[in-house]
């Protein structure tokens, strides 16, 4: 493809490879006249600006020369350090002169551009070449067999390579060897080539085919192979390129006969030794592989001969050719379309008329058609063989899990240029681990969690703590795992019960020494003074009056003492009056303590006293309000305190067991971007979560947004270090946050084939590969190709996983056309198969906790059809049905086309993706319209489900005898708890628990539980019998941590609630 052209009849030289930008120097060629017969000469420099799409070349400088040139070369040798342009222009003139120009001076517009000049040669200097090893060495050739070697540092006195060859002849070409720096070759129109050894200062070999028809117009050494060179012949009778190997110099190794007439110039690419350019009198420019003779490319040229052709040293795809029609053209051999370029030219021509509507017709003229350019060459094909410089030999790419994929193509130096097949083509997959400390700490944390060795872990952390704060945090965390945690918290805050007690006792003793001994007689005065009045009141049993009198007389102690005798109500009133009157510093504290108003302390204490406030809360607060109070204090510290106090809020959150707030607070204070600082946070969070699980009966499996983000960031980091399993372990279990679900899916799959029996069915995608109608995770779906084909593909039974659904709403066009009416939406849903899959998000135990009334269970076990078992759906709440159907909303992007169609303009596929999104956000409002539209009309998978399952459900199997004990034990325990539980909240929890344990009983009926789980359950039952609930809880933890989540998720959390309650109530 032609890139540029300049209208000059000139010799050309590219700037050296190291020069940037790329310049092309042109010097008016000798012995050629154009129609003007002008003998003016000039030396010009153009810049090759490929970012400019036009065909014009930017002229940088013109220098009017008194010489015309036979040869022009641009050597890299820098003779003058000034200027940005490297090298020196060396010109061979008509009268035996060699002129050195400074290109930077030419570009600068300097008048004095000639560095040196020497006219030692006789006759025109047609041959010039720069030694690529010593760039100060230039060889030149002229008439009379003259060859000189010029040292640019000592230009005055040239050397000769040896004695002149006889008979004297013109030297038409000269070339330095590309491998051995002291070897030079010259050739003459007579067809003889001579190789010179400059160390020996003599010709060492003469090359000639004795045909007398080789008329050497070109000579080039092989770029890689020292002993090979090519000679081109200008003779029309022998228009060939001969490839010679000096190891066998009696005849050419290969003869390239691709030109029909004599060859005028050749150029061998330094970038790819398989590319040799040649131009001839047949008006062709060919690019051939001299090693095979094959023509790889024919440049689209006009019908003119080219007399000079040059590769651009810097840009290997670019070449320039000078033709006798007075034009220098720059081409790319990579092909490409010339349409864009031609268009520009046409525009230029049209607009050059200035007026697009010269005839005043009101219509602009159509663009000028240029017939000759609409020829067949509008698309130019590239080289037949890709050039070496675009063949990428090496690569290293990262992939998921910190893996690095590398390959390299190390080649044996190929002497014959052809054989390179011995190489084995390997790709290495490597694991990159850069964060060793991070990994080892993460490992320790995991071990602590697995071994439940929390106390020792915390202790280690305390010992290793660098700062007081860090130490505090770990001490607080540790306390969580110890008995009497509140007392220990107090100690940590600097309050020791015993210490206070001792102090107090001491004071008491001292006091008692001064007390007057009681025991004597006393008289009861009933006089009219205040004492008397009180006495009267007392004698009449009128405590209230007595107290009032005391208060009136400011006898506070008496008033209180009397009030105590007067009963609760009076006491309370008296206390109030007392507090109203009293103004001492600690009154508010006392007030709070007596009135049990801890909130007051927490809300209004001076934040400097946060420790005291926390201590008070620790001492007095009831279990059910404790967390909230700690929370409140923490929030105040965070919002109102200075930076120091803000960090202390972490301690409050630890006491409160509020993981989410701890994360928020910590993140605010620390820079979380470094893996180790994230590790710092995660360690605390994980330990705190464990503590909360152990100490509080609440379900900790809920994960807040912030925590989830941090945990997934952490999991990502672990994954990036190749710790896929660890990443999975730390990833929050049950959340329907799409990024976490995606990560989980990615991690699970990245793990490769899961170990038998330990699957990761928590990912929704896995589920879609399940055979239809079969509940629970299924083993044996790991056949690789199968698994891979099915995921995501909308083959009807394989809807897109919800994890990706968030991203489904990407088509900006389609999103706008979404049907917005729920009714419409609903009508769209049925055509799609309804997968049973996304139970993850919906069937989480936490979700159930939050909406206990909307009782529901995994769809695997219950068809969304008319209720068959009262136990299964005791509330008969239609919403529960709807909730079960909703997860089936994610529909394949398209069931009829082979690809998902997020971009389908119609948008009807698209809305299917949208819908679940809305539901995730606000299930209740979405369930309503569905109730109206969908009653009992499930289709697709669900439908099959319906057909296969109801029969089983209607007649429930009995629980096997050996497992019946489980049911009776658990039910009995719940009953016991219920009878001793007092607050309605607990009762509700227990009620719910008893219902939800039906899942377990169902599984027992079906005998689908693994033996390890059932035996574990029996162990728990035994521990219940012995009332050793803590042991039961330990076993519970063991089961949960070793079993498959989906297998146990329906009942294990609730079993834990029961055990914890039982433990608390001590039944």
């Amino acid at each position: 493809m032609k890139l540029k052209e300049v209208d000059r009849t000139a010799m050309q030289a590219w700037s050296p490879a190291q020069n940037h930008p790329i310049y092309l120097a042109t010097g008016t060629s000798a012995q050629q006249l154009d129609a003007t017969f002008s003998t003016n000469a000039s030396l010009e420099i153009f810049e090759l600006d490929l970012s400019d799409p036009s065909l014009d070349m930017k002229s940088c400088a013109t220098f009017s020369s008194s010489h015309r040139y036979h040869k022009l070369i641009w050597g890299p040798y820098k003779m003058d350090s000034k200027g940005d342009v490297s090298g020196v222009l060396i010109a061979g003139g008509e009268n035996g002169n060699i002129i050195l120009y400074d290109p930077s001076k030419i570009i600068a517009g300097d008048k004095e551009v000639v560095i040196a000049q020497n006219d030692k040669h006789t006759g025109p200097v047609r041959a010039l070449d720069v030694n690529i090893f010593q760039t100060n060495l230039v060889a030149s050739g002229a008439n009379e067999s003259e060859i000189y070697i010029w040292d640019l540092n000592n230009f005055a006195t040239p050397m000769t390579p040896g004695a002149k060859t006889q008979p004297p002849e013109d030297i038409s070409c000269i070339a330095w060897n590309r491998q051995v720096q002291h070897i030079l070759a010259s050739a003459s129109p007579s067809g003889r080539a001579t190789v010179w050894d400059l160390r020996k200062n003599e010709p060492i070999i003469k090359v000639s085919d004795h045909s007398n028809r080789m008329h050497c117009s070109g000579l080039a050494w092989h770029p890689d192979v020292a002993t090979q060179m090519v000679l081109a012949s200008e003779d029309d009778r022998l228009p060939v390129i001969q490839m010679w190997d000096l190891r066998f110099a009696s005849s050419p190794l290969r003869v390239l006969e691709n030109h029909a007439r004599g060859i005028l110039a050749i150029a061998w690419s330094m970038a790819d030794p398989e590319l040799l350019l040649s131009c001839g009198k047949d008006a062709k420019i060919l690019c051939s592989n001299p090693n095979t003779g094959e023509v790889l490319y024919e440049l689209p040229t006009n019908t003119q001969w080219c007399f000079d052709i040059q590769w651009c040293p810097r840009n290997p795809a670019v070449l320039s050719a000078a033709s006798f029609d007075g034009r220098i053209s720059v081409y790319s051999i990579m092909g490409g379309s010339t349409d864009g370029l031609r268009q520009k030219q046409v525009d230029k021509l049209s607009s050059s008329f200035g007026n697009l509507d010269p005839f005043g017709t009101g219509q602009p003229l159509p663009p000028l058609q240029i017939p000759q350019q609409t020829a067949q060459h509008s698309i130019v094909l590239p080289l037949k063989k890709p050039p070496k410089w675009i063949r990428r030999p090496v690569g290293a790419s990262f992939s998921f899990g910190g893996k690095l994929v590398t390959f390299e193509n190390v080649r044996m130096p190929s002497h014959q240029g052809a054989e390179q097949q011995q190489q084995q083509h390997h790709v290495f997959i490597s694991q990159v681990v850069t964060e060793k400390e991070f990994l080892s700490r993460s490992d320790q944390l995991q071990q602590a969690v697995q071994s439940q060795g929390f106390i020792s872990y915390c202790q280690k952390k305390i010992d290793a703590s660098q700062t007081e704060f860090e130490k505090n945090v770990w001490s607080f965390l540790k306390v969580n795992f110890e008995d009497d945690s509140r007392g220990k918290y107090l100690e940590l805050l600097g309050y020791r019960k015993e210490d206070l007690g001792k102090k107090h006792i001491k004071e008491e003793k001292e006091e008692s020494e001064f007390l007057p001994s009681s025991g004597g007689t006393f008289n009861i005065s009933v006089s009219g003074d205040i004492d008397g009045l009180i006495t009267q009141a007392l004698l009449t049993g009128n405590f209230e009056s007595a107290v009032d009198l005391c208060l009136h007389d400011n006898r506070m102690a008496d008033a209180i003492i009397l009030a105590i005798a007067g009963g609760q109500e009076l006491l309370a009133r008296t206390q109030k009056k007392y507090f109203a009157k009293s103004q001492s510093k600690i009154t508010r504290l006392i007030t709070a303590v007596v009135m049990k108003n801890w909130k007051e302390i927490v809300e209004s204490c001076d934040l400097k006293n946060w420790r005291e406030a926390l201590a008070a809360v620790l001492t007095y607060a009831k279990p059910d309000e404790f967390s909230a109070l700690c929370d409140l204090l923490g929030t105040r510290l965070e919002n109102e305190g200075d930076s120091l106090l803000q960090t202390q809020a972490c301690l409050c959150y630890i006491c409160a067991g509020n993981v989410e707030k701890l994360v928020a607070c910590w993140t605010k204070a620390q820079d979380g971007s470094h893996p180790l600082s994230l590790q710092d946070l995660i360690e605390k969070v994980v330990i705190l979560r464990k503590a909360v699980q152990l100490t509080q009966a609440m379900d900790t499996s809920t994960v807040g947004v912030l925590l989830a983000a941090k945990m997934s960031q952490y999991a990502n980091l672990l994954a990036a270090q190749g710790s896929i399993a660890a990443a999975l372990a730390f990833l929050p279990d049950n959340t329907n946050q799409p990024n976490i679900m995606q990560l989980r899916d990615r991690l699970c799959r990245a793990q490769g084939e899961p170990v038998a029996g330990h699957e990761s069915p928590k990912i929704p995608y896995e589920e879609q590969q399940l055979p239809k109608g079969r509940p629970g995770p299924v083993a044996g779906h790991h056949q690789m190709p199968r698994v891979q084909t099915q995921q995501y593909y909308p083959h009807g039974e394989n809807p897109p996983p919800p994890g990706f659904i968030m991203h489904g709403n990407v088509n900006p066009n389609a999103a706008g056309q979404l049907p917005t009416s729920p009714g419409h939406m609903h009508t769209q849903v049925p055509p799609y198969p309804q997968p049973q899959r996304p139970q993850n998000g919906w069937n989480d135990p936490p979700a159930l906790n939050r909406v206990p009334k909307k009782k529901k269970m995994p769809e695997n076990f219950m068809p969304p059809v008319p209720i068959t078992s009262p136990i299964m759906n005791p509330l008969g709440d239609p919403q529960s049905q709807m909730l079960q159907q909703q997860p089936s909303a994610p529909v394949p992007l398209s069931s009829q086309s082979s690809f998902p169609q997020p971009h389908l303009p119609g948008g009807q596929h698209f809305h299917g993706i949208q819908q679940p999104l809305g539901q995730t956000g606000m299930p209740p409002s979405f369930s309503k319209p569905n109730i109206e539209g969908a009653p009992g009309a499930p289709i697709g998978n669900t439908f099959q489900h319906v057909q296969s399952l109801p029969t089983k459900k209607i007649t429930k199997k009995p629980i096997p005898d050996e497992h019946l004990i489980l049911k009776t034990t658990f039910e009995d325990l719940i009953q016991r708890c219920l009878s001793s539980a007092t607050d309605p909240q607990t009762k509700r929890k227990l009620d719910d628990a008893s219902k939800r344990l039906e899942f377990l009983y169902d599984k027992l009926r079906e005998q689908t539980l693994s033996p390890t789980i059932t035996s574990g359950l029996h162990n728990i039952a035994r521990s219940i019998e012995t009332r050793n609930y803590s042991e039961g809880l330990t076993m519970h933890t063991h089961i949960v941590s070793t079993s498959n989540f989906s297998e146990t998720s329906a009942f294990m959390p609730v079993l834990k609630v029961v055990l914890t309650q039982a433990n608390k109530l001590g039944v």
């Binding site: 493809m1 400019d52 810097r314 675009i390 893996k403 083509h425 084939e753 995501y792």
Partner: protein
């Protein structure tokens, strides 16, 4: 540590030009001058040849996996001027689409972030970049940027999907207002950034100039939730630059020289967490680089045949010469 966990003998009969793992890191796609594309299952250190895809009539330069939410889809580009999209269905891989819209070697293919749908950018030696968008029913819509890089585009790389003005996911249901961008590098020594206008046309948004020779590869770093955008570029001139832009709206990019190598640098690749850059050079050298706390890029590993040690921390890593 960089340690080989799997050595895959590809049995390619000529040079390998690209090797890419799928989204999960369980399958490896390779392509070669022998005109074939191969897919291996490499789980658990194994190497099972799943597919040997023939269809190109010239050396295959690059392969690219689409996001699995669209199925198992692989794109390949070749010197034969074609882009082929391969798809697995029912366990067999087949040619799904052939794009023959280029006039010269297609050197690079890159899938857009999955949030945009199935969009493939292709850079060619004809100087053009084409964008193929799947429109459903087996149809692909083609947009072409002509003369993107004179005499050739060598690399294309998409910007991660980030919604302007918000680093957090938008509330579900709302259509995210993504701005699609990608970077390209070419034989005009330039890196160009392209942006899709509201009318769906692609417009040159920025020219990044620092290289003095062909840009061989560009790699837009994955988003890690920070407002800074980062691009790595490498060139025939041996230089690797890290370009950063702190403010997308002003769109000012500043280059930082990572290193000047003695040979052409062919390929740059970011780790998933965007903190390590793998650089592959013409002397068959692979090096890993990481930014130190003071913002300097430090070589943390020399990888040879997939093996290498990693300096314990960035501060101990050898500073790059100069």
């Amino acid at each position: 540590m960089v340690s080989v966990i799997n050595t895959v003998d590809t049995s390619h009969e000529d040079m390998i030009h690209d090797a890419q793992m799928d989204y999960y890191g369980t399958r490896l796609a390779t392509c070669s001058s022998d005109r074939s594309v191969k897919i291996f299952d490499v789980r658990n250190g194994g190497q099972i040849l799943i597919a040997d895809l023939r269809g190109h009539e010239g050396p295959v330069w690059q392969v690219a996996w689409a996001h699995p939410m669209y199925g198992n889809i692989l794109a390949s580009c070749s010197y034969d001027r074609k882009v082929i999209i391969w798809r697995e269905e029912n366990g067999t891989w087949e040619k799904s689409h052939e794009h023959a819209g280029h006039d010269s070697s297609v050197n690079s293919v890159c899938w857009a972030p999955q949030d945009y749908g199935l969009i493939l950018a292709c850079g060619s030696s004809d100087g053009a970049i084409s964008l193929l968008t799947y429109t459903g029913e087996g149809q692909w819509e083609v947009k072409k940027i002509n003369n993107a890089h004179t005499i050739g585009c060598n690399a294309v790389s998409w910007a991660p999907a980030v919604v302007p003005g918000s680093l957090i996911d938008q509330p579900s249901g709302q259509k995210p207002n993504y701005i699609k961008r990608f970077a390209s590098g070419g034989c005009d020594n330039l890196i160009k950034l392209w942006k899709e206008e509201e009318d769906g046309q692609w417009k040159e948004e920025q020219k990044l100039e620092a290289h003095s020779d062909w840009v061989r590869d560009v790699a837009w770093a994955p988003s890690i939730g920070l407002p800074t955008s980062t691009i790595a570029s490498c060139s025939q001139d041996g230089r690797v630059f890290i370009w950063t832009c702190d403010d997308v709206s002003s769109n000012t990019w500043s280059p930082k020289l990572l290193h000047k190598f003695n040979d052409v640098v062919w390929h740059v690749s970011w780790s998933i967490t965007a903190n390590i850059l793998a650089v592959s050079g013409g002397d068959n050298k692979v090096t890993l680089w990481k930014e130190s706390v003071d913002g300097q890029w430090v070589c943390i590993s020399d990888v040879n045949k997939g093996q290498g040690s990693v300096s314990a921390s960035v501060t101990e890593g050898q500073q790059n010469e100069q």
